[in-house]
Each structure stands twice: as structure tokens, then as C-alpha cells.
Amino acid sequence: MKILVAVKRVVDYNVKVRVKADNSGVDLANVKMSMNPFCEIAVEEAVRLKEKGIATEVIAVTVGPTAAQEQLRTALALGADRAVLVESADDLSSLAIAKLLKGVVDKEQPQLVILGKQAIDSDNNQTGQMLAALSGYAQGTFASEVTVDGEHVKVIREIDGGLQTVDLKLPAIVTTDLRLNEPRYASLPNIMKAKKKPLETLKPEDLGVNTSSTVTTLKVEAPAARSAGIKVKSVDELVDKLKNEAKVI
């Protein structure tokens, strides 16, 4: 079966972002960009399913600017067979991205689509669920274990308070949580090989999708800073402060 993996180019996990002085957004100039960590887990899961002989082809897709080709090359170096870039310089809403991915799903007809549960920039946690709705497919979000069995996939999900297991009819959508797997590092020979793998570029118009959004960002501010308090010298002093000063115990 064919697996489609969606990835997103985001600010690297280790970068401490700064809000722009004019409050129009965060400063992304000269900041290291990487593949969203949850998307790395998605790619890894797809590649493992191929290594197990369950998947026959893994296609990586992203919606983003021209530079997002870098993240597709990373996905190819990790083991994806080919890649699709839906090129758009605009900052698109999750719904618009889900519609574009639906266009790619219609074209490629994968049996399983794996996405990260959320991107660490916009923290929306929407795209996978929206793609599932638009496709009419079942969804296994926040997955910590994925088992493909014939025409079904069993997904163990991380939920508040524990784990839930659901059985989904294929084709289906899976979104990854942290413990699904530990992504591998791309080896140098694989990085070289990835440069020769096919990468197709599409425009939103090619997929017939209107990407306009109903949400406008009015301003972006730094959160209220929390200042450091005092250092206490002993447990006795700590207990005293909590009882008599903060009055929280």
C-alpha cells in the first residue's frame, strides 16, 4: 500500500523565538529552520512500515515556500521514495492546508496518511483531523502505536488519563504523538541519494483550491514575563513561606 506523509517546515525546536518590535509576528530572519519534530516521527513510522513490507511506497508532501524543499529532501534521506511540494509563500490556515492535502490524496490515493499531531510554531493541532473530515476517512490522532492489519489499522492513542485503542477502516489518517517511535538520523550516503529522488512541485491552483482564510492575526506579543522570586535556604524556610507568605498550603 501507498503511504502519504505530510511534513512542515518550522523554526527549529531549539530556537528561542523573539517577537518582532512592531508586534506583527515572530522574527524568523536568519533563524534555523527544520522539519517539525512530530513530522519526523510521521516519516519514521511510514519508513518502518515500508521496511516491514507493509507499505510499497512512501510519498512525502509539504505545503510551503520554495525553501521547504529542504525538509522534503530530509524526508527523502530518511527513506521516503518521492516528494511533492505544494508551493505557497503565504502563511496558510490549517483548513487551507488540509484542502491542498486532500487534493494530493485524491491524486495519489494513499491507503494511509500520516501527519504530526501539531506543528510547534502555530500549535494548532488541526490539519490531520481536517484532512480526515474532508476525505471522509477515519482518524487515529495522537498515536503511540500503529498496527496495520489487512483492510484495517489499529491505533493506540494518547488521551487524557491514559491510552485508548481504536480500529479504523482503511484508508485512514494517523497523527503522531511523541512516543510512537524515535526517528533515525539520515546517513550521509542516504542524504546524497535523496538529492536524486523525484520531487514534484504543484501550485494551489493546480489542485483547484481556494486558500483564503477567515482568520486574521491582529498582533503578536511576548507573554507576560514572570520574574524570578527568592532563593530559600532550607526546607523549613520553604514550608514557612508557602504557609505564611504565599498561603497556598
Binding site: Q126, A133, D160, L178, L218, R226, L242, I249
Partner: protein, 309 residues
Amino acid sequence: MTILVIAEHNNAELNAATLNTLAAAAEIGGDIDVLVAGEGCSAVADAAAKAAGVSKVLLADNAAYAHQLPENIALLVAELGKNYSHILAAASTNGKNYLPRVAALLDVDQISEIIAVESADTFKRPIYAGNAIATVQSSAAIKVITVRPTGFDAVAAEGGSASVEAVASAQDAGVSSFVGEELAKSDRPELAGAKIVISGGRGMQNGDNFEMLYKVADKLGAAVGASRAAVDAGFVPNDMQVGQTGKIVAPQLYVAVGISGAIQHLAGMKDSKVIVAINKDEEAPIFQVADYGLVADLFEAVPELEAKL
């Protein structure tokens, strides 16, 4: 303007996060209806009817909704939600699961995890793990929103007297089924709603050492959490994780033990009223947000703390 709030529950009890979601709805303004979708959940509907500010409770009691399967719930909410100006749900793993599906079915954008209501169409939400706060405005005909419970003070659970109306609709998409659930059983309060939270990090060294925190927690009536580092190291299960990718908590007192204070962890707890940090590394970033910092070996300080409480 009428707002539909989707109740969070387990078919037996109304989850307290629903009361925080109702508070966000009250700030938006207008009539508030609550949808209780589940199976054998009339007690939940009765509880929702007593919550402050609720005009009407819609009860969809059907086997298709028993386990909150998003494929079924989303069809129901999209069907009922067409007549509302806003659809709100708590940003729990459940709300996050079905609500984007509702938004896509209604062909509108969703606004995730709002922490403040500026007006009926303008909201604040954290982005970049809470390192920035965006103010966003929506022109969508139906505003579909998840609410971060810690951003709003709960409305009163008692005092209301809304009517309960049965909804006959049985939406079964037939593409998914519930297999099973493994829920952590604990006598301690739920992490998300606890007044006091005590969390351990990589400094705990192993899962057995969390026993020390459980003892302190039991004395304080606290919930126990963990940093992602402690979860990744396999000390404790993931449902204890506090942070950007785990639970967001804002208790009266948060005690961080052996936690360095990575930004992803701070994202999950920095709105706590009082923060205490116990760490032997005095340079640890957690001290920059702590009201009370104790530079000490946790293996000495925590048992001493327990003894002195």
C-alpha cells in the same frame, strides 16, 4: 447570537473543564446551549443543566457516541452547529480530536486553545509553545473554537435550571470502532484540575524515586506530573507529562523537583500562581520563573519536605 458548548464527560460525570469552557462562552456573550453526546449520559445532562448561564441542554444519547469517536461526534456537531454563531469545546485530547473535524465539515477555520476573549470575534491564543501570544480575529460565519481551560475561571456548577431536550440524531460514520481503554487509576486529583501539582524531572533518576513525590502529593492533596525528559526516560507514563506537548496546568502551587526548566516545560506550567523549584543546579532556568527556589539535593530535600508538612 447563540453559542453551542460541547460538554466534556465520561458518560457518568461532567468534566470540570466544561465549566471553564462555559466561562469563555459567557465572555463572548449570548445564549448558551450545551450539547451532551454520549451513551447513558443523562446524569451528565442534568449536571450541565445546573451550570451557571446555560439556557438549554441538548442530549444526544446513542451508542454511536458512547466513546466520543470523532467520526460520529463531528457529524452530529456539524449538523446541530449550523444554527449557532460559535461552537466551543475544551482543548482536551477529546476536544482537540473532534472539533477540527467539525470545522472542516462546516468549511470554516478553527481557532485553537484560546486563553482570552477580547470580543465576540477576537481572541488571544498562545503560539510557539507560549513564547508568543497572538491576537486573532475571525470573520467566519460560525466560529469554531477550542478553549484552554486554565485560561478561564470556571462558572458555578450549581444554580442554573436549564431545560434538557433530547436530540434524536444518530450519526454513525461506520469507519471506526472503539477497541479498549487503559486509564490510569489514581486517588489523587486529576492533573489538569488540581490545586497543587508536584512534578519530577530527569533529576528523579528513575521511576521508583517518584514514590517520594507521591508521598508529598498525598499529604498536600496534590496531583503528580512530570517533565518530558522524565517521560522520555521511561520513569513515568506520558499522561503525566506537563508541557507544550503534554498537559497545560495552572494550579495555585506548582512544585518542580529535579526539573531544569526547558521552554517546552515552562509552556505547560508558567501560569501557575506560585512556583517552587527544587534543584541542585543553581543555574537551572527553572529558577528564573520560580517564586521560591531551593538549591538542594532533591533526595534530601523532598523527604524532609514530606516530614515537615
